[in-house]
Symmetry: D3
């Protein structure tokens, strides 16, 4: 039985869900993810932040642009004209992790969590791309939704 | 000092690296990643595989199409006309993980690992999108390069 | 005289028509089209529907994604954030035809018939692509608007 | 059994076919299709050809640009850097048909028939878009491959 | 200090500005720019305007399509569904200049000046592309905003 | 007469020129352009270069990404897989000009001057976008080809 999936109709065919009758409300999503790098890559990134050679500045732009292209890339996502996108990074020196945190907003009929998750994923892939000549064993991990609000389903906060 | 990054020049400015003088060789990349789902989502996906309502069939198409768009999304990636892209899934019933494995190929001047990694990430995000009405706490993890061959740097195999 | 074309101004220059003052109303379009295949292709498609190797499942995703890209492809089409897109198929065993039927919806200032027609056309081209190694003489035919509602021009139903 | 489809592997999963080992050869495709219009639309188009208000000039540009985007739109199509695209029109005054004929060329590992067919389809949809305020009952028909050459499968000519 | 840039936050990180709480108002922008050509190119363009071989008709379509893609190309631009785009040309025979004038409109939360400026720039680049076999020394110049209205900042008119 | 335009055929119809029989050679293009800003904007940009809030770092990424999308935006441009793209800036303190200089490379059948010119134009538009809240009267000027080599037409150097 496939009826528990909203993205399939009763015959089991993939659909772009009908959101036409939903209310236009303010919707926010926050997503987060990390890339695990080795010590050399970590300090190469850290020491150039806010300077020339700033890997994170490039990854930030990539993430923001990706947020705008989400419905081009994720087949059943609705097109949305997002009203805000920010990409922040945290450097976790204990674990040699770079964390990306994305916030997206829209005033629309459907949520922006895919936009936030997509932007996280592209920001992290961009870090991989720019550092891969130094180390190919980097790993992207822990991409998840942190928070969501707006729309009928209300507020979601991921448990710690 | 930024000279250890290939994607910045000596002044620390981001560049698309000059690959013009590299040889055209056959290049292959394999990347892998997972999405951790809950038990309900796991069996909803598993029981509809190869049937109507097949989440993985949609995610596979998304991944293949994403492989072709990598240079649109990752800022400093070279455009490539890839000659092969496959997306496979494994269902890990012990850990409720869906694993995506992507292989890409090109006969070109630069490698296809970003194409494989991007396709993995988009295939997993598509699973998230299609199942998010059932569970928002899913997590994407372990996106990494498994294997790479072709070009001057030779064969790379990730250590187990 | 060119003034009977809405997409040219009085000097005969192509324009994107000004729809700024139109009302936002719910708009629906249904379009349909067919691909004529030979007997072998017909049964190859039919026997794999809702199984592994499902050509129509791929064509459906292609059609839905194409609906979202209509304004990128059709020069004078307005960008729209469609709220629904469905692609259905009928198998006409008498004539070896695969029929694609697309429904699109928007709450906006202009109609979604081009989105529906574009999705039909791309769904059928995808079937062609996937079956062309079996038969190159397939033909796409009868792409037309079936129904349209919303906006000042009201309801349109194609005569049988 | 799905093995007769080249776009599915042995397990029935959709793939972008591996063309890496194919020879780079000159490949040409010609495709054709028509749009059936009413008498008013036919003469509105005909009388403005090669003048201000030229619907076919816009449709031609749309077709050429679409040829370049084929692999973005058709899921399993390989990216190609086509070396030529032309879009011609014939006005069939007896049947009130506008015929679009597209020729595409590439020097590559796989053929350009999807590029030609996609360009035909977009050129005809553009005519529909520009004339739909005059008549919504127009119909797109007879989209087919006329000729193909290059590559292992040799020359294909559609029987009259 | 970077706080005078709206496109950076207090830490100096690039952001897509939050426009979620702005009012939806009618917004218009007019932008203009020129390409300086030599005498031969000027008359080749002028003598074919409104005829076969009309360079400006192609440039017009390019400009309109570019207006729709602005947020894909300009990193921190908000996606917008513009409601109007027109591209006009003036031929300045004294100075051998082709002037492009673009008007864009939206009913939205943020302005359309980047859409107008982007369309001007692409229309002029298209003229360059189509004439470059005749003369490579053409120069694009004087791209600027002429007029803007709508939104909190009110009406802007460039001083002569 | 339109035969002096390479982008029209003998009947005056726009075409993507056939480059199939051209040799694959190394091709380079350098293009340049400027944006004239006021004193406040000039120093706001200058003082944040190579720091947080670096407008030019964002414009550089925009330019590189635009180089890759040239054939999507310029209607009759051939798709190319460029092998290099760099975007540099000069700050002309005497005239309050920011100059953008782009170099592109390809090993292909046709040149990369449109890619270089397009990247210049998008880098400058991005500066405009990021500074427009400070000053709307900025002007983009002097976009031109500086140098070109490779292919049958040989070396071109713009006269000073």
């Amino acid at each position: 039985m496939t009826t528990n999936f909203t993205h399939f109709n009763n015959e089991g065919n993939a659909i772009m869900v009908d959101v036409n009758d939903k209310d236009i409300t303010d919707r926010i999503a926050i997503a987060k993810g990390s890339i695990k790098v080795n010590e050399d890559v970590f300090y190469a990134i850290k020491n150039n932040t806010a300077k020339k050679g700033d890997v994170l500045a490039v990854a930030r732009i990539a993430g923001i642009m990706a947020a705008k292209k989400t419905s081009d890339i994720i087949p059943l996502c609705h097109p949305l004209f997002i009203t805000k996108a920010t990409v922040d990074f945290e450097l976790d020196e204990t674990n040699f992790l770079i964390n990306a945190i994305v916030q997206t907003k829209v005033s629309g009929k459907t949520g922006v969590e895919m936009e936030a998750l997509h932007a996280v994923s592209v920001a992290l892939l961009t870090i991989y791309d720019m550092c891969k000549a130094l180390d190919r064993s980097m790993e992207i991990l822990n991409i998840h939704l942190v928070h969501k609000e707006g729309g009928k389903s209300g507020i979601y906060d991921r448990k710690a």
